[in-house]
């Protein structure tokens, strides 16, 4: 599904190398987790994959089902089925959540030469999905993320993911700032989407989320590289001992 080979990335305006050769392969139907200290480059990886400005790929490649991602505009990547749940969801004044989602869903359908969703079908779909995430009608009407609490923003990300039905989902610290109940809602939302045809890359600091969303593979990222890869037990090790031991053994 998602294949990253020797990816090196620096900041566009600064001579600062952030990713120093990342190799990663997420298969369809699998959940991979990435853990790692702050500043190790996890968000940068997710941004570079989704096409944000400000980064320069100096080496390596990233493909989604064989298609070169790095060559595409952000909207083309989305239409190909890539989705990033943002660590910091963006507020967009004046654009209602509903309009935003309908525009996004239909733009992706159009890009894939599929028929646009009718207003009624869209409404039915979004109401049902919003309900399971405890997102009320008022939140759907409000401008995108404006005045949403941290937890509401994260639930809104999952709603978008549920509506867009991407094939490769990247979740960047979707658990941070969530209380126990919200965490449950969010992970149920993610689990509902788990499917043979879908891959997940879950960036997190905490075992807590991984208790709900059971990963198949866990990677540790440090200083712009994947330094260790293992099974779910690796996350438990981090939970108990922190990163120090792992970093020491791989240094």
């Amino acid at each position: 599904m998602l294949e990253i080979k020797g990816l090196k990335v620096k900041l566009e305006d600064e001579d600062k190398q952030i990713l120093k050769g990342v190799d990663l392969k997420v298969e369809a139907g699998k959940v991979h987790a990435i853990m790692g200290p702050n500043g190790s480059g996890k968000s940068t990886l997710s941004y570079v994959l989704s096409g944000r400005d400000g980064y320069e790929v100096t080496d390596g490649e990233a493909t989604l089902d064989g298609e070169d991602l790095l060559d595409m505009e952000p909207e083309e990547r989305a239409a190909e089925g890539l989705f990033l749940a943002f660590q910091y969801p963006v507020e967009i004044p004046g654009v209602s959540n509903m309009t935003f989602l309908r525009t996004a869903v239909n733009a992706q359908r159009k890009a894939r030469d599929e028929e646009e969703l009718s207003a009624t079908d869209f409404l039915k779909d979004i109401r049902a999905k919003a309900k399971t995430l405890k997102i009320d009608a008022d939140m759907l009407k409000r401008p995108v993320n404006m005045g949403f609490s941290g937890g509401e923003k994260k639930r809104n990300e999952i709603l978008q993911m549920a509506m867009l039905e991407p094939k490769m989902c990247i979740l960047d610290e979707t658990d941070s700032g969530l209380d126990v109940d919200a965490m449950k809602l969010v992970s149920e939302g993610v689990n509902a989407l788990r499917d043979e045809g879908r891959g997940f890359l879950v960036i997190t600091h905490y075992q807590r989320l991984l208790d709900h969303i059971k990963p198949d593979v866990v990677h540790i990222m440090a200083d712009g590289r994947i330094v260790k890869t293992g099974g779910p037990e690796l996350a438990l090790e981090v939970e108990n001992n922190g990163y120090a031991d792992i970093l020491a053994e791989t240094a």
Binding site: S50, G51, R52, D53, E73, P74, E75, R77, A78, A79, L84, F86, P89, V90, E91, I92, P93, G94, V95, T99, F100, L101, T103, A104, V105, A107, Q108, A111, P143, V144, Q160, L164
Partner: protein, 428 residues
């Protein structure tokens, strides 16, 4: 030679041989007085304090710059609204295309008829608010209008009128030079809505004087025509009585030069005045909103909300002033003017002014100029919305904040739908 003498000489030369239209004696004396104001003040000059950002020369020149007629191919604005239609073609009233000039709760007449009557109530209003509005900032193009206008509409509102009156300005002659002067006199406790739309002429000079007495409510929504080369200098003068309401909104898309002046005087306690505008300019486009609001009573509210979207070298100007007189305590004055610059070639020039002589007032103003929010744009694109559509979504959201100032939802919808369509058409 001082600027004033220079202006007076240029104006005298320009007006040599020009005389005010024939009419009844009351209007002739008003027109003569207005002409005297023009000659005394001189027509606007680019070195005038309030003409620094907008070049007045094409507005004051002998002849208008020709403006090709533009066919948008779309239904006229406000088509879906039930209204009394009053049509002008190149600034001349067209009875055949207009509805019968009658309605419940008001009388409506043509200025050309009124001007021939020996006695008419309009003598107390025509040119009067305009004359008063010359102090402390001169508006010579408005005086010129009072002196020379032969056509326009004169309305007397005597009841609560729900069906709007709609002035439709058609432009058919690419050399037309139109001057229209409208007057609306309201009785206490009445209400009225006026709509205006269309390009009017190659060059258009308009004055609207509205007397809004105690407990009266006046609404105004205007869409200026989309002909690319049209030029317009518009002036609105209103006096507000106790607990009265005045709300106006203007949308402007295209037009090489637009100067919209709005001069309001709040003379009765608890009056409310809102002035709003949204404009979208692309390329050869210069749009100027010049507002002067005088608070001269207690506990009045005034609110200005202007939004401008500019690209490809378009220029936006905002000159907004709130003057609070010594006894106008508890004034609530709000002024916001924002521009969204879609490229580096475009510019927004803002001159917000507050002059406050009372101590117990709350006045605020904010003027901002910025590009589209890159974070928001990326967020939308990351969800699959193409860049141009994402930009339009955010642009429309920006403009909507001004459109929301329109109280009537159907009218606000008309404007928003059009703006959305125009942005979309531009995408091709």
């Amino acid at each position: 030679m001082s600027l004033l003498v220079q202006k007076q000489e240029a104006t005298a030369a320009l007006l040599d041989g020009v005389s005010v239209p024939a009419g009844a004696s009351w209007i002739t004396s008003i027109r003569d007085a207005a002409m005297a104001r023009v000659v005394d003040n001189g027509l606007p000059h680019r070195r005038d304090e309030y003409w620094k950002y907008t070049r007045p020369d094409t507005l004051t020149a002998q002849d208008p710059v020709p403006a090709p007629v533009f066919d948008s191919g779309e239904a006229p604005m406000f088509d879906e609204i039930d209204r009394l239609k009053v049509v002008f073609v190149d600034g001349i009233f067209d009875a055949d295309q207009s509805d019968a000039l009658e309605g419940e709760g008001f009388t409506i007449e043509c200025l050309s008829d009124v001007a021939q009557k020996d006695i008419h109530w309009a003598k107390d209003l025509y040119g009067q608010l305009e004359a008063k509005g010359q102090d402390p900032v001169e508006r010579p193009l408005a005086s010129l209008n009072t002196a020379l206008a032969e056509d326009g509409i004169v309305i007397h509102v005597t009841g609560k009128v729900s069906r709007p009156v709609s002035f439709i300005y058609k432009h058919e002659d690419e050399n037309s030079d139109a001057i229209l002067h409208h007057v609306v006199k309201m009785e206490e406790g009445t209400s009225f809505t006026l709509l205006e739309n269309g390009p009017a002429a190659a060059r258009f000079n308009t004055v609207l004087e509205v007397d809004v007495p105690d407990n009266a409510e006046f609404h105004h929504v205007r869409a200026q025509g989309r002909d690319h080369d049209r030029r317009a200098a518009t002036h609105m003068f209103a006096r507000l009585g106790t607990e009265s309401v005045f709300k106006c909104f203007t949308v402007t898309v295209n037009g090489v030069l637009t100067r919209n002046e709005c001069v309001l005087e709040l003379t009765g306690d608890d009056a409310v005045a809102h002035v709003a505008g949204a404009c979208v300019g692309d390329g050869e486009f210069s749009h100027d909103d010049t507002v002067f609001i005088t608070h001269d009573a207690v506990n009045c509210e005034s609110r200005q909300v202007f939004k401008k979207v500019l690209r490809n070298g378009a220029t936006g100007v905002f000159q907004g002033k709130i003057l609070v007189k010594p006894d106008a305590q508890k004034t609530d004055g709000y002024q916001m003017s924002q521009s969204l610059l879609l490229d580096d070639d475009s510019q927004f020039l803002a001159k917000p002014e507050l002059e406050i002589y009372a101590d117990d007032v709350a006045c605020s103003h904010g003027s901002t100029s910025g590009a589209i929010d890159e974070e928001g744009l990326f967020y939308l694109r990351a969800r699959g919305v193409p860049k141009d559509i994402a930009t339009d979504l955010m642009t429309l959201a920006f403009l909507a904040e001004a459109v929301e100032e329109i109280e009537d939802e159907a009218l606000a919808d008309c404007i928003l739908t059009r703006l959305e369509g125009w942005l979309e058409r531009r995408r091709g």
